[in-house]
Symmetry: C2
Subunit: 435 residues, 2 copies
């Protein structure tokens, strides 16, 4: 006897929702074969139905209220594609209570309320899938929850935000400023009108928190993640890094150091010979190190209509076959098994890139390097740009320093002392070097 059809409702019908509807419609036969049953898109819920009427496939009910989904006992699965936590949280709670499985691309929801929603779903015998919430079409959740089950995860490193990666790529390739690259990203649809959450690292930190919870069977909040954005980067930083053999990427890192977890999202110098540095444009990459599998790298389209829809549909098919329920049960068995301590950032030991502006007058470099030396920070290389300022009094110099390995704590203490020097002017930038 063939399995009953799986009836689906879509909440939100923007870019990704349209892609999901398109694949469900155009690949119906292929998907039936994959899922072992027919996947029927039955309802779409949007705030303003009149705006969407023309794009809705034939036979799909369009409404402006989730009540029509809650009241329809034939809907098995809700694809929740609206962003932010409100009203998404309320909606998902109600869908779970009404006995629906959930597929979502909402990373903020999973990051902030995943624990509660997973417990609720588990008690109700329902399943929540969220492959599309992280790195678009790259199957990183599936890899962590099924392919690497034999492994103790040691580290996750990733370029998880396509917008900032696009901006960093174009600053360097087109030799333009941060703001020009941001404008370009906005014009091409890679950045939103308000790009804050992308460029300040919040988006990547939410994704890193979710991955960390899965990989290390623990609980972390985004507050525990050291976070620096790309807003203060200048073309000259990316050029200086490049000339020394590095590219700068907004790198998310979750790594065990003798039982304690390093957690950070920050612009990082990565050797140009490493795969991570070669992921350009809006692409994403996730590198997962397991004690058995070694270092696995997954790269691809981290966002976009069809890549994200591809992840959503994979989750739908997984729910249709019954695989997702089994994986979700395993996830619930292993959740929060391991309390993990976060490594205080001051203890992290790495090389650093420092760029700062100082007065261009005698003894400045001596004062400057004296302070670094007193904090046991050893200089690996130092470059001072020529300045074209004609008035000697207002002449400044830009120093670019690469340190040998030192702790973040020492560096912060040195920075506090350096700030007391009246020769140090304006902007100060520090980035770690990936090891």
């Amino acid at each position: 006897m063939p399995a009953a059809d799986l009836n689906i409702a879509l909440i939100g019908f923007g870019t990704v929702g349209t892609g999901v509807a398109q694949i469900l419609t155009h690949q119906a036969e292929h998907l039936t074969c994959q899922a072992g049953r027919q996947l029927n898109l039955r309802q779409i819920v949007v705030r303003n139905p009149t705006r969407y009427r023309e794009r809705v496939p034939d036979g799909v009910r369009l409404s402006d209220s989730i009540d029509s989904v809650l009241d329809d006992d034939e809907i098995d699965l809700v694809v929740q594609l609206i962003g932010g936590t409100e009203p998404a949280l309320d909606y998902v709670r109600r869908f779970l209570a009404a006995g629906k499985d959930i597929v979502t691309a909402n990373k903020a929801l999973i990051c902030q309320h995943g624990d509660e929603l997973f417990r609720t779903a588990s008690k109700a015998g329902r399943t929540i899938c969220f492959e599309a919430a992280i790195a678009g079409g790259i199957p990183v959740i599936g890899t962590l929850t099924t392919a690497l089950t034999a492994n103790r995860i040691e580290a996750i490193e990733g370029i998880l935000n396509g917008t900032s990666n696009f901006i960093l790529t174009h600053i360097l390739n087109d030799q333009i400023s941060y703001s020009a690259a941001l404008q370009q990203a906005q014009q091409l649809g890679y950045a939103e009108a308000d790009p804050t959450l992308d460029v300040d690292g919040t988006d990547a930190a939410q994704k890193l928190a979710i991955l960390t919870q899965l990989a290390f069977s623990t609980t972390v909040s985004t507050d525990e993640i050291v976070r620096h954005g790309i807003e203060n980067l200048e073309l000259r930083d990316l050029q200086a890094a490049f000339s020394m053999g590095y590219k700068v990427k907004l790198l998310a890192v979750s790594r065990l150091h003798e039982g304690r977890l390093e957690l950070s999202v920050q612009p990082t110098l990565i050797s140009r010979s490493r795969t991570l540095s070669q992921i350009d444009g809006a692409d994403n990459i996730v590198a997962i190190t397991g004690d058995a599998a070694g270092r696995l790298r997954l790269a691809g389209a981290g966002a976009g209509q069809l890549p994200t829809a591809s992840a959503v549909i994979a989750d739908i098919v997984d729910i249709a076959t019954g695989r997702a329920a089994l994986t979700f049960q395993a996830l619930m068995r292993s959740k929060n098994r391991t309390p993990v301590t976060v490594l205080p950032p001051d203890e992290l030991c790495r090389r650093y890139y420092i760029r700062c502006t100082v007065d261009d007058r005698p003894h400045v470099l001596a004062d400057f390097t004296d302070i670094l030396g007193r904090h046991q920070i050893s200089i690996s290389s130092l470059h001072q740009d020529e300045t074209c300022e004609s008035d000697p009094k207002s002449r400044t110099a830009c120093l670019v320093i690469m340190t040998h390995r030192t702790t973040e704590g020492r560096l912060r203490a040195a920075e506090a002392d350096l700030a007391q020097l009246d020769c140090v002017r304006g902007s100060w930038l520090r980035m770690p070097v990936a090891e």
Copy 2:
């Protein structure tokens, strides 16, 4: 009620088998949590038990015959780790008949007899898993069969043989000959005493055939795959390619061209700016292009004890949870749905690298390029090395030619004509440039 234990027998106890036993023993608690039931290694079958006695974990029965497994109704799952098709084929047939599920790392078996074994297993309600057969710890089978279900696959490209990739990497990096690099690989355990199947492309072709069958729901035999090995490559080829901006990799390609499938394993020039070219040493990479997900790249350890054992254990856990059975049923539903025509190699249109040795005397280059021109092959660049031979009569020159786009058919016709010229001496090498 907790699920019953899953009882396992290992057939073969070499490098990978030892790794599997080690993870099952040392990570028992972690795996029970992942699998939702206890995974018990109950039996190991080897040809010569006395050799292995010391390495066998406590409580595991060691024997020299599969009869002890066939006779033991409590064994649910057989991990088949012996290579080659005989006696592996006979063994697997008998295990399936006895109602056991199968996990194997044997690519030759799956490539040559997968169709028969899958049908037998399906009829018996059993499951066959083979993630470990391709690219070690890289979850390429799982990605194709679960993560990309929404996609029509358009292309698979991969570096699937770690031995040849190790050799190519060391020829270039250490500036040594092919045979010196092969010797190094053998000393370090990356190549077998008889490396033929690795360096002539057979191993990669078997893996490509399996991936192609999964990705395109079709049947292909390795005979349909254009196959050239790396045995005729010289240091100067890799150097010449590098100086023009390329690295040479043994690239496996399965790509749809308007409904017809390009199938090849051959040394290929890949731009140094592409991720594929940056996979060095024994690592593997698989790039899968789907119509929705775009181009997904998976890279990691393509072989080795623990990475391969990681893939085997992931399959065991998948069988223990029940996921594997669901995935296998989907695989059987979609199998052989699409008859695909193989694209005749002569029609493939690409740029080519040609290296050949000619007499170093007047009019040779004119004769040579005249033939290329008559076959409509346009030269993009040509380099002639100086020779250090003192006797003018035996002086030869090495020509390295990059062509503009042309078909393989034209090139083969030109080669036949060139072979008639008495100025053309000895070795001739042709490699395509990846697009």
